[in-house]
Symmetry: D3
Subunit: 239 residues, 6 copies
Amino acid sequence: MKKKLLVIGAHSGDFVWRAAGTIAKAIEEGGDTLVIAMSYGERGESGELWKENPNRTEESVKIIRHEQAQKAADILGTPIQFLDWGDYPMLISDERITQLTKIIGDFEPTVIMTHSEKDPFNPDHPLAFQATQRARLLSSGAGVPSAFKNIDPPVWYSFEPHQPELCGFVPDTFVDISSVMDKKLAAMSCMGAQTYLKDYYAELASRRANHARRISGKKDIKFAEAHQSQVPRVVSSIF
Amino acid sequence: MKKKLLVIGAHSGDFVWRAAGTIAKAIEEGGDTLVIAMSYGERGESGELWKENPNRTEESVKIIRHEQAQKAADILGTPIQFLDWGDYPMLISDERITQLTKIIGDFEPTVIMTHSEKDPFNPDHPLAFQATQRARLLSSGAGVPSAFKNIDPPVWYSFEPHQPELCGFVPDTFVDISSVMDKKLAAMSCMGAQTYLKDYYAELASRRANHARRISGKKDIKFAEAHQSQVPRVVSSIF
Amino acid sequence: MKKKLLVIGAHSGDFVWRAAGTIAKAIEEGGDTLVIAMSYGERGESGELWKENPNRTEESVKIIRHEQAQKAADILGTPIQFLDWGDYPMLISDERITQLTKIIGDFEPTVIMTHSEKDPFNPDHPLAFQATQRARLLSSGAGVPSAFKNIDPPVWYSFEPHQPELCGFVPDTFVDISSVMDKKLAAMSCMGAQTYLKDYYAELASRRANHARRISGKKDIKFAEAHQSQVPRVVSSIF
Amino acid sequence: MKKKLLVIGAHSGDFVWRAAGTIAKAIEEGGDTLVIAMSYGERGESGELWKENPNRTEESVKIIRHEQAQKAADILGTPIQFLDWGDYPMLISDERITQLTKIIGDFEPTVIMTHSEKDPFNPDHPLAFQATQRARLLSSGAGVPSAFKNIDPPVWYSFEPHQPELCGFVPDTFVDISSVMDKKLAAMSCMGAQTYLKDYYAELASRRANHARRISGKKDIKFAEAHQSQVPRVVSSIF
Amino acid sequence: MKKKLLVIGAHSGDFVWRAAGTIAKAIEEGGDTLVIAMSYGERGESGELWKENPNRTEESVKIIRHEQAQKAADILGTPIQFLDWGDYPMLISDERITQLTKIIGDFEPTVIMTHSEKDPFNPDHPLAFQATQRARLLSSGAGVPSAFKNIDPPVWYSFEPHQPELCGFVPDTFVDISSVMDKKLAAMSCMGAQTYLKDYYAELASRRANHARRISGKKDIKFAEAHQSQVPRVVSSIF
Amino acid sequence: MKKKLLVIGAHSGDFVWRAAGTIAKAIEEGGDTLVIAMSYGERGESGELWKENPNRTEESVKIIRHEQAQKAADILGTPIQFLDWGDYPMLISDERITQLTKIIGDFEPTVIMTHSEKDPFNPDHPLAFQATQRARLLSSGAGVPSAFKNIDPPVWYSFEPHQPELCGFVPDTFVDISSVMDKKLAAMSCMGAQTYLKDYYAELASRRANHARRISGKKDIKFAEAHQSQVPRVVSSIF
């Protein structure tokens, strides 16, 4: 069966900071990937752009954010789709759940990755979690003809939030991204003037690699991303 | 690197009921295995034997329990070592921790499996967890010459306790044991007159397979064992 | 005061698999019972019917599901009411909360039983929990004339979900259903071709009885159902 | 920077029972305060008034509740604003979130205080928590121009619910209100015939002071209120 | 089967403050009771006595504490046994576990009651919990002849600690002690000069009754004690 | 009252990596400080030294570790005391608890800081937590003359472990160490060849400052350390 990874972010930059290495690694392994950006993060995540030019319009911010995310996706080699749902506030309706469910049914992912369930520092991240949870179940839970196309239940992860402990995030899966770290760095460079964030997430990758080495004894891991499973895994052997 | 599974049970029957399928599957995959029985369970887990003949001596119970467990291990194809630490009460001393640490250092497991941290229905199971936790860390945590031989940190699981919810057990790994279920059944048959337990754990394997099918969509899983990771896993890809 | 049990299920079969024994036992004790089926489970829980005949209409599935559930309720001796709210997706509105609140006010249950708060395998079960929680509080919380009839706060349980540990279900109440197991079996037989589920839940009742015997020492319990209290109990003595 | 405390209650009496001492103490220290009453609690919290005169209209209950709360606020020396959103049921809409966000943006609190996240005995308290959580994040999370005025993120507490353990409330901050206990008593006296509640919360203040003395060794604390932080605190020293 | 309640306190006064009503109610219902005082609390719980006369010897404090507790037990009508294990620090050895196991085996309680698992304000309470947990399992877990007499597993509760939320105590069982509150008051009066504590626990009983009334709607409950189950209950009906 | 900070580490380097900034800041504010090193970490934390020269004796490692830690303490300006209890394995006895209790009684700290309760990657850290917890309670819990000198209960924190989420560490207090970061860097430089760790913890301080800025809006925080309270705080005002 073809392996397929679907990454769903509340804002257009989320997939870069939190999962770019995992995406690049999945592609390196021959898997298909798709990124969904629920919004452009035009209000809540575009501080640098508004600081540069406070007279911008919201539309112009969206255009820049679209270009940046598209470029980052191109570097990683992944398709990306923009839903333009707005942020601060993001609103989730039954129609939007249906839209997301259809996307999942069409792509048929074997793995889904999105935000953590809780985030006391961002109002949109938990909404993205809830929408993804619901759409994933509507796609796969029924086991029979329903209002939605029925696919095998994808494995489901939360990627790492900005303040992990305060979001109840406990990583249980560390992905070795050493071989694709250059792509993550390049993708992060597309995201505008935010040099600071690039350094920050490069450091995080190094720190998670340190943890991964200590956990596993695998001394050649240089960079890693940490994720948390939301459902158990089913394996053919304990090894 | 050679894959090696170490299963540590408080009583001589634990490995059969809770992990026989996982052991047989590990061997099928070419791995090495070792079972440690901390005690014979001569008091707490030998009800059938005492009921048959209340005039038995404790020593005679131990001999029968030794034979049963050895026979079950033979069927699975795994070596087994008996520590004879006694049960009801089992007592853990610094010397016994050292003994267990040495066993771990000698075998160099890549995976360790033992009881869950909590068990409100058995006084020995949490002690086995604590002893294993401590011995595993003393074997692998130091990173430098210490009182103990230093090995790479093994992955570490709890196998399923008898009353999972009340032991705080949340399975995150289901092992498909369909191809070796006949061996688990045969091993369970060695454990004396306890027909009831054999049926019970056969049903559990069937039930866990039902769960595994629902989680994964893999329709050909007929029997499964459920375990809970105690440390994160480190992988080269999210797939 | 008359004892009254209200069982609220998201789909028309839930009360049979999860609480039929508890319902029959309540009736045996002279209590009143009422079952609410929020939907027919016409999409998510009717796999067998769609498999038999993929050309069925949704309406025809509902009719069959209605008949099956009615027949099962008749065997147990309980009234049942169908709300036909739809499933996959089920939608909860303020009007539906009001409808459910009115049902609770009219029946005046002393005990309410519904799904668990969390269920990563079913999108409707947590909605049923939330709707019941809210309607129960609107019925009983005010203590004064309000928009709703005001009743004494019913005791409130979650019945057992399909994958208990992954739903955060920790049973704290085991009901001995030995004397009515024949009725549960007969009720389960009404639910169509799903022989498998009938065996599955018979095994579960046997397994929960094993747990109940170990917990209590009561050796004559043959079958049991497990539930989780959502509010404390108030008693006249600790015995 | 001016210190400002915003207290948000679901019903017009909540701020008196749960935070009157903390408000008075904040004023004593030279801070600004503002109380928001989302509803008058005209249905769920006005039992005494309905008992006195069952023929009252809802409007007349609201007028009395308004006067009582205003008088209590006057005694404490704090402004109060009534939103009149209704109770039993209280309904939260996107418009109401926007209204609350605007209030936060206008007042620019440094500390926000509201109900606990969970309350199995009241349907409105968790709604007040959720609305406050969302409005606080929309006011402060963006870091850039957004749909809402952007302020520094206020510290955020839950005040003590009526049945703390069952609401998951774990106090981490005890405020010594000894010097203003007379004001709390006077404010509580404004709340109508509920002598019982006044005694109850006076006892609670004494009990929490006992706890605070044991925790800190500060023997001169006579009365205290207990709260739970929802975000970490940032300090210039550990002392 | 005769109903029997065993109450195990770390210090000689614990059973009075935390469970006197439950004990008196059990006797009122025709049950047997036994109180175990692990120590006299001669150091940690005898502040009043040392304050009165700092020149006392430890032995003289023990004698007074013995008399007080005996008198309180007499008022309630319960036997009491003093183990004199010392406090601050209390030390638990394998021999003491054996001693406690023997007491449980001899009394054959149907209900055991002791401290909560966690108490950040007292070093002895968690030890009492652990000792009781272990002795209870050694008495009842084996199911066969063991080193200890084998009894049916008693139901097991934690009584209410001084700072419940900080001890992780969540009450799930409220006992109506209205009919025996006079006995609890009289027993508390025996405990020396601690007028304060008597008022404190009288208030607590009143407060817990308020909670019990709200939970159950039973308006005639005037005083209650709150406890937390440590094992599930097994019942013949949900009512 | 004089402010006093006691920092207790399992190994001689722990205070540097995890709390050096907090110590320096406490001294800057005029407080007294004392560091306790339970062991030299001669086995588990001295990898660099053994790698340089595998023929070293354990005694020679201890001497070097002593010098390094003393030098780091001197830079921070804090006294340090070495208990030399050994590591891998560290053993805690009643005598050692008494020794630690005496140290606490003599120093009379207002704040104690030690490891987190849980650490799946280090066998000594949880032991240090337990010993500190017990000694702190024996020093302060009794409220009357006991075997130990009786002091006011110190506030109590866990400092940040190496893998916070996996140790159950949730920071609730961020200390701004910007003004003393140069001292932390200098102290870290004393700890031998471990350039890597110095970079690692400098990054951590920068990362925690980023979190602290987001939480508080205080834009001038450049470096921070994160800690977790183990007991509530008692304050004179909510501000």
